[in-house]
């Protein structure tokens, strides 16, 4: 098991290096002069040459491309991703301060997604080809086809603005505002972000359950006289979850991306909104650091999912 974990970590390192190189080069080719941005000036006229050169050297922009990339990477390893062009704040600290809000939202939407998908997927598989199956499949296709952010906006229109059941903006903290306020602020963003996951996982669990239910060991368990419920929960569900867990890893990537849009709609103070604000202000070190940290976290989640998967399924880790 340990050698498997070690191998997976070894694979993750070059992946992270390549993505960091891509993110770095991407912003390198971006039009616009960072020095002028840093000085808060749109043209070269109002800035003296000495001032310009000083800032340029301070940002390390006078060095060649590769050296700058190496600086960026060695900095990133020690948690130094530079400072914001606009506010002068440390990029790593700013992103990390915002990260808990995004992670809370992501975890909540995974929970919402699974709470919908698990019962619906099992129901569809157990009552295969019945009206329940059709309804579940139909709902899942609709869920995949709706723009998630639009679904969030519709929730705001009807549940917040018209019926005033949930707040439409912002976050609440358990220690400051209490559990009730925390959950009511979390509910709409989590539902809107979790919709896509609910839809894809319903399909996934349905087909995975259908496959497992046709296996000999399920028929054997049934023939031994176990009740259907026990067979489904104890025997089928556990095995059917194996492929579901693998997809969950990459689904969380989609959630992190979706979080950018969801956070913008609900004014959720996470890294997604930070990313959008940085783009609007052309704060490139912030965009760069933000993207890199999100990718690293996503890799970490996938690593974690892979390890759980290997633990569930010995065939994988022994291969």
């Amino acid at each position: 098991m340990w050698s498997y974990i070690f191998k997976r970590i070894l694979v993750a390192i070059p992946t992270l290096l390549i993505i960091s190189f891509m993110i770095f080069s991407l912003l390198y080719i971006t039009p616009g002069d960072p020095v002028l941005l840093m000085l808060g000036s749109g043209d070269t006229q109002s800035v003296s040459q000495e001032q310009y050169d000083a800032v340029r050297a301070e940002l390390g922009l006078d060095k060649p491309f590769f050296e700058r990339y190496m600086d960026f990477i060695t900095g990133a390893v020690t948690g130094d991703l530079g400072t914001s062009y606009i506010t002068g704040e440390d990029v790593f600290d700013t992103v990390m301060m915002r990260m808990p809000a995004t992670l809370i939202l992501t975890v909540a939407s995974v929970l919402v997604g699974l709470l919908v998908a698990v019962p619906l997927g099992i129901l569809a598989a157990v009552k295969h080809n019945s009206i329940w199956d059709s309804i579940a499949t139909f709902l899942a296709t609709i869920g995949v086809s709706l723009p998630k952010f639009w679904f969030g906006l519709v929730l705001i229109i009807y549940l917040s603005l018209r019926l005033k059941i949930f707040p439409s903006q912002g976050i609440a903290y358990i220690d400051r505002d209490g559990l009730g306020a925390f959950l009511s602020h979390l509910f709409l963003p989590a539902v809107s972000l979790g919709l896509g996951l609910a839809a894809t996982q319903t399909r996934m669990i349905r087909s995975s359950m259908l496959e497992v239910l046709n296996q000999d060991y399920i028929r054997f368990a049934k023939s031994k006289g176990f009740k259907d419920k026990i067979v489904i929960i104890r025997h089928a569900f556990k095995n059917a979850m194996i492929p579901v867990v693998t997809v969950l890893g990459s689904e969380i990537g989609a959630l992190l991306g979706g979080a950018v849009v969801t956070e913008t709609i609900f004014s959720w103070p996470g890294v997604g909104r930070l990313a959008m604000n940085s783009i609007a202000r052309r704060d490139y070190p912030m965009i760069q650091g933000n993207t890199l940290i999100l990718c690293a976290i996503f890799l970490l989640i996938n690593l974690f999912v892979d390890i759980i998967y290997a633990w569930l399924n010995p065939r994988i880790r022994l291969n």
Partner: protein, 296 residues
């Protein structure tokens, strides 16, 4: 010469070709046909927009007629905050959205299928390199990368297509490689090899046509997801010029009027959902139609 197959009772019947068989099964699928019908109507109305509306989606601003609700005489779906006809913006906006979706799917399929084909056919170190790169590209949250690309390239419709194609080709590469690997070992490919045909000819004339089924399904589904992703980028204000009609841009405009004019948000969202739903139904129908296990 007409192809024939021999029945159990030794009578000869014309052989059904693979494609006519697929077509027959697709036409039997009622949901897929409904999807095709809906998509057909949407595409026709958008393409022939001037037949259905006399308003220009950008220029016809009437300042006295701002934010008229749907059902107002002359403006069936109402007007937006600049007094522009929403129905007209919806039709012209559909052109942008559907074209973007199609372009992204086609470009990423072209890149992905080519790389996947090369990877699967040649194997060895080429395969290893291409597939490692594909894995890496697939192991990142794609919308985040697309947003970073848009931030770097700047906002335009062309850049949306580039950004989304960069993040969506790997699926095609992986899928095509899998298909090519399974077909490569078939006897007819070996005989083509023995006959001395060039690699290119074998790849494109002998192997690729036989992996088209899953690729077409993936292409269809990719159109739907590209329409959704482009809408997200446009909604975030990273996409096309805000004055241009586009469903994502319309949603972005509607955001400021959730309380007073929520139809600015609901209408374009329904248009996107309906289009993507239709595309997904067609994709699911094609998947079933191509499934060899269902072939009789």
């Amino acid at each position: 010469m007409k192809k024939e197959i021999i029945n159990d009772d030794f009578s000869m019947v014309p052989a059904k070709s693979y494609w006519s068989d697929v077509g027959r099964r697709f036409l039997k699928n009622r949901i897929a046909l409904l999807g095709a019908l809906i998509l057909g109507i949407i595409v026709f109305m958008c393409a022939a927009a001037p037949l259905f509306t006399q308003y220009d989606p950008v220029k016809d601003m009437v300042l006295g007629d701002m934010l008229l609700p749907p059902g107002t005489p002359g403006h069936i779906l109402g007007t937006d905050d600049y007094g522009r006809d929403i129905f007209s913006r919806l039709l012209y906006g559909g052109r942008t959205s559907v074209l973007t979706g199609l372009s992204v799917a086609i470009v990423s399929a072209a890149v992905g299928v080519t790389l996947g084909c090369i990877s699967g056919y040649f194997g060895g170190i080429i395969d290893n390199l291409i597939m490692r790169f594909t894995d890496i590209m697939m192991s990142f949250p794609f919308l985040i990368i697309a947003i970073a690309i848009m931030a770097a390239l700047g906002s335009s419709q062309k850049n949306i297509v580039i950004a989304l194609a960069i993040v969506s080709w790997p699926r095609f590469a992986r899928l095509t490689r899998g298909q090519v690997l399974s077909i490569k070992t078939q006897e007819y490919v070996e005989s083509a090899n023995t006959a001395g045909y060039s690699d290119m000819r074998i790849m494109f004339n002998h192997i690729l046509p036989n992996c088209m089924g899953p690729i077409i399904v993936q292409l269809t589904l990719a159109v739907g997801s590209a329409i959704l992703s482009a809408a997200s980028l446009n909604f975030l204000g990273l996409g096309v010029d805000a004055s241009l009609p586009d469903w994502g841009v319309m949603l972005n405009q509607g955001r400021n009027y959730l309380q007073t004019a929520s139809y600015l948000t609901t209408i374009p969202g329904i248009a996107i959902s309906l289009t993507v739903l239709a595309v997904n139904w067609i994709g699911d129908g094609l998947r079933d139609a191509f499934d060899p296990r269902l072939r009789v």
